[in-house]
């Protein structure tokens, strides 16, 4: 597999290590009433889809950035690659906007 790194261009997947579902970016709030249940789901339960999957890859043999790779688990075709930092910042911005509106 070739991962098209947003900063470095196409790189061999061998340069990367794999962590798992990109939902791992959404760590639950530890003081929540239901934190125990939420952390159980966060740590141990997975959607594990057959098809499009957003997942975290780490460019260990490269610039050591975390990427969010959107990939089809049925064909291994890579559809999109983003910097995990961008994804996390966009989520935070969306959440803040939601709270302001709410």
């Amino acid at each position: 597999m070739i991962i098209n790194h947003p900063l470095l261009g196409p790189r061999d997947a061998q340069e990367f290590t794999y962590l798992g579902d990109a939902e791992l970016l959404n760590r639950p709030y530890w003081l929540s009433e239901t934190a125990l249940q939420q952390f159980h789901e966060y740590l141990y339960l997975r959607d594990n889809p057959a098809g499009t999957h957003r997942e975290l890859w780490f460019h260990e043999q490269g610039d050591r950035s975390w990427l969010v790779v959107t990939r089809d688990t049925g064909t291994h075709e890579i559809q999109n690659v983003e910097l995990a930092r961008d994804v996390a910042l966009a989520r935070r911005a969306a959440r803040t906007a939601g709270e302001t509106r709410g």
Binding site: Y18, H40, L43, R46, A50, T73, T75
Partner: protein
Amino acid sequence: MRYSAFRLIKEALTGHKGWRPQWRDPEPQPHYDYVIIGGGGHGLATAYYLAKEFEAARIAVLEKGWIGGGNVGRNTTIIRSNYLLDGNAPFYEFSLKLWENLEQDLNYNAMVSQRGILNLVHTDAQRDAARRRGNAMILHGSDAELLDPAGVRALYPFLNFDDARFPIKGGLLHRRGGTVRHDAVAWGYARGADMRGVDILQNCEVTGLRIEDGKVLGVDTTRGYISAGKVGVSVAGNSSRVMGLAGMRLPIESHVLQAFVSEGLKPFIPGVITFGAGHFYCSQSDKGGLVFGGDIDMYNSYAQRGNLPVVEDVVESGMALIPALGRARLLRSWGGIMDMSMDGSPFIDKTHIDGLYFNGGWCYGGFKATPAAGYCFAHLLHTDRPHDTAAAYRLDRFMSGHMIDEKGQGAQPNLH
């Protein structure tokens, strides 16, 4: 029809005209007491033991393709009982005991061959760990023997003993481990179950689970709706998909594991060898091919095929251990989908839905577990209580903190 030497001679003398199909191809009935989803080794074994040991009636096995076409047809055929932890060891010992009597029980030649498994060690620390594991195995009623380098050399003189990076310092030998003709396991269980009245429904994919008021009523399939008293799901790499039909999320990721076979060679490797310094294991099939494998590909996959970097990695490990391997040509490689759980151990448990039961999360160790997984799943389905040897395989063990993590890797499925 019972198989025997007498039967074979009789058929040989009469032109082999008396052989019959080993199982029927029945039409689905509108209702079964037990519906097993998944016609692999585990599902067929479950149906067999339900019918034989628990004398249950009206059982169906639903298979989306053909029976034995999943991981029971795609593995490296190794059986063993060399586990360390309390939650695992009694279960795998029970499984090995069932393997030892399997062919007599099924009246089917599964070519069970207890040719021994040798786990090599390359450092003092590994030898200490092997000694500890061996002692745990003996305490749990299995067998283990710690070999020094001379002992290993007597068994396998062709290994790379004096490698500068990973010299061989000995090994833990598990003599009762070995290999089995994997397809024959599926066929033997299918025939045994069919003889006891189990309906094996092939080309029958489950498309939905009907659940009302927290109770399962039946399954929608490509061959129509089938009403069911109890539904047991035993679908290995597709566990998350099928349990997703019931709205459940599992502590499982699906990963692809590749395996390899070389061209046929004269008898060369008498048992099973595992490399302690990398992930590589190798045995020789009765046809002469070297059967070997290594790590999973590390990323989620349902593709039943892997990528070249892992091929290279496995072959490098093989060359480091058995330099003579470089003279053999690779004949075939293939991938199977593993249901990798969060602690590397499986599940045989009820769900929160009444009448829905789950067997899965076997990672890449499901083949050796086939007889006991079938027996224990049948026990759970019939009695609603876990079998004594499988009581630790609960779905809620991550919530309660009772993980069974043989390798101590944590919730990182691709590392187990």
